[in-house]
């Protein structure tokens, strides 16, 4: 067992799952929400010369995806250190 005790293992996994679900909510909202379901109402707003709903579907969602993965990596590395399960 790499964790100090059973409780630590549970707490680590719980924190991991919570982080994952939070980020997946952002993932869903950015693509399915803003880029698809809400695309039409958002199209009245403009970013530069592009309608916002269209922009999320073809540009914005992709930038958010990239950011999400890097946030995940950073947070998980912190979590690994905190619980002493980081690989050497």
């Amino acid at each position: 067992m790499a964790f100090e005790n059973e409780q630590a293992a549970k707490a680590y996994w719980k924190a991991n799952v919570r982080l994952m679900l939070t980020l997946l909510v952002v993932w869903f909202v950015a693509s399915f929400g803003l880029g698809i379901l809400l695309a039409e109402p958002l199209n009245v707003i403009r970013i530069g010369g592009v309608k916002l709903g269209f922009w999320f579907a073809q540009q914005g969602s992709i930038y958010i995806f990239v950011a999400l993965i890097f946030v995940y990596v950073w947070q998980m590395n912190e979590l690994d250190k905190k619980f002493g399960v980081r690989e050497e």
Binding site: V50, Q58, Q59, I62, F65, L68, I69, Y72, G84
Partner: protein, 568 residues
């Protein structure tokens, strides 16, 4: 120099580079052959993953698709990038910790069952062959247009190159070649995009050019111009699209989940040294993919405006065929552009209604784009090299999955558990060679359904692998009965729906007949839900998971002690 000579030089130089890398990165053991020894740097792995992922379809066809679909093209952009978030957050780190070589390895071990392993092997082989035939065809098309050899010879040359570095180097050779191929393909994609963006909008970044005003008409935004042109010519407005929202939703989801379930993508995360490398490597992969994927919609918009301008003339009266630029005639010879002078006025006209006289294949939007925009010859040659790099890198990655599935999952883990590492390596090489020949055959004699079964690959991966792997990691109570029943019901449901609408009753393939308005392209999402429901239901009423498997699940949930990819 003329285009032909330049193309020979640039494509030839890129081939020499790939072969040089292949000789340098020969594989000496099965571990090097399957997972490049498990020692690839995460940034290099990200680049290789990006090249592996971006196929001839991404490079050649995607911008063209978007160009013709407008807003609806977003399903490909979101679908083929959003899957990496799922991969990074839900799959890659855990599968790396699991530490075996292949996806069927995981399915077989986690579900303590040869039957589950065998189901997974056949899914992996089927999905990969579907894909690879299309790649070989892509190589053939690029060769035949730019080097003016027959498509058959183009495919044979492509086969020979892949043969050389895949059979010799395995995953190690493929990985380092893919790094080089990524550099070639992204350079080839960006150069014309940047040129055209500067010419049309004055911005060096195509992503910004997309939202800028036109140089030729100050005060008019590119997108407004495009919306205006589209409606004037009888198309849907470019930013509106014509698919139903529910269908866009389901297609995007199927592509995302399918991406995360494709064996040739997943296996890439077995090649890095540590769990945290697998996480960051997915991030780098998406960065490198996003560079191309955020440029594609800009190319799509630029190309559409340019094309309409050239064909219809700036006064919208049609351009006289006699005065058409040379690219129209060049591409007419390949059959990708057709003109039928319906009203007999000698002028070409492109429209979405009865005025239309043109048939324009979407693939030429990227391939002919540099010619349409009058870019120098070396840019055109570069695009050829990029298209070949995209097709070869994906083909090699897929061939590796096929050869691994045969030598490792079928031979070593099923039929001949006692063969030595040397024998297994030889089997892997023979399998790779055989797979290349089969893929080449399909490239030269494409079955009519290649284009149609693309939906298969994603739908199948989404409805089979993805739920089985997710449940295998996040549920300790999911047992083999549940997983097998789920995979089989998910695949059967998805395949039946696709086969019905694509082959049995193609005439009935219209929104009125679709369930809930979901097209065959998006049905994998529903198949995935079927898989989840069946798995959970069956696992509730069958035997619990053995203690040692539960412990294995426990141990893949944290990084420490991952070590290198395990030999058996």
């Amino acid at each position: 120099m003329d285009i032909q000579t330049l193309t020979f030089i640039i494509v030839g130089a890129s081939f020499a580079l790939y072969i040089g890398i292949a000789i340098w990165a020969r594989a000496g053991s099965t571990k090097e052959f399957y997972v490049a020894g498990g020692g690839v740097h995460p940034v290099a792995n990200g680049m290789a993953t990006a090249a592996d992922w971006m196929s001839a379809a991404s490079f050649i066809s995607m911008a063209g698709l978007i160009s013709f679909m407008g807003y609806d093209g977003g399903v490909y952009l979101m679908g083929w990038t959003g899957g990496y978030v799922l991969l990074a957050l839900c799959l890659a780190p855990y599968l790396r910790k699991f530490g075996k070589f292949t996806v069927p390895d995981f399915v077989g071990d986690r579900y303590y069952s040869q039957a589950a392993r065998t189901v997974a092997v056949f899914c992996a082989i089927f999905v990969s062959f579907t894909y690879v035939a299309g790649q070989m065809r892509g190589v053939g098309v690029v060769f035949s247009r730019f080097l003016e050899v027959d498509i058959e010879w183009g495919v044979v040359i492509g086969m020979a190159i892949v043969f050389f570095y895949a059979v010799l180097g395995g995953m190690k050779g493929i990985t380092y070649t893919q790094v080089a191929q990524y550099c070639v393909l992204i350079f080839a994609y960006l150069v014309p995009a940047i040129f055209i963006s500067i010419m049309m909008t004055g911005s060096a970044f195509p992503q910004i050019g997309l939202g800028s005003e036109l140089v030729s008409e100050p005060g008019v935004y590119l997108m407004d111009k495009l919306d205006g042109l589209s409606t004037e010519l009888g198309f849907a407005a470019y930013t509106d699209g014509s698919k139903a929202t529910i269908d866009v939703f389901f297609i995007t989801a199927a592509l995302m989940v399918g991406t995360a379930g494709l064996p040739h993508v997943i296996v890439r995360f077995f090649t890095v040294p540590k769990v945290r490398d697998a996480r960051i490597s997915a991030g780098w992969a998406l960065v490198f993919i996003a560079i191309l994927y955020t440029t594609a919609p800009a190319i799509a918009a630029f190309a559409r405006v340019n094309m309409i301008d050239t064909i219809n003339g700036s006064d919208m009266q049609g351009t006289e065929y006699e005065q058409a630029p040379s690219w129209v005639k060049n591409w007419e010879e390949t059959g990708l552009i057709k003109w039928d002078d319906k009203n007999g006025d000698g002028r070409m006209f492109y429209a979405g209604d009865e005025r239309n006289e043109m048939k324009i294949d979407r693939d030429i939007m990227v391939l002919a784009n540099p010619e349409i925009a009058n870019l120098p010859n070396w840019v055109i040659a570069l695009v050829a090299a990029g298209g070949v790099a995209a097709a070869l890198s994906t083909a090699a990655g897929l061939l590796l999955v096929i050869s691994t599935a045969i030598s490792h999952d079928l031979l070593k883990r099923n039929f001949m558990p006692n063969i030595s590492d040397k024998q297994e390596l030889r089997a892997a090489r023979i399998a790779a060679a055989a797979a290349i020949c089969v893929a080449g055959y399909f490239g030269i004699n494409p079955p009519g359904f290649v284009a149609q079964v693309v939906a298969f690959a994603f739908g199948l991966a989404a409805s089979s692998f993805f739920p089985a792997i997710i449940l295998g990691i996040f549920s300790k109570t999911m047992n083999k009965e549940g997983a097998i029943a789920g995979m089989l019901s998910g695949i059967t449901f998805t395949a039946a729906y696709i086969i019905y609408f694509k082959f049995i009753n193609p005439a009935g393939n219209v929104p009125e007949n679709w369930w809930f308005g979901i097209s065959p392209e998006g049905i994998g999402t529903l198949g995935m839900l079927v898989n989840f429901v069946v798995s959970l239901a069956v696992s509730k009423v069958t035997a619990p998971v053995p203690e040692d498997v539960q412990q294995m699940v426990e141990s893949i949930r944290f990084p420490k002690g991952a070590g290198e990819a395990q030999d058996h």
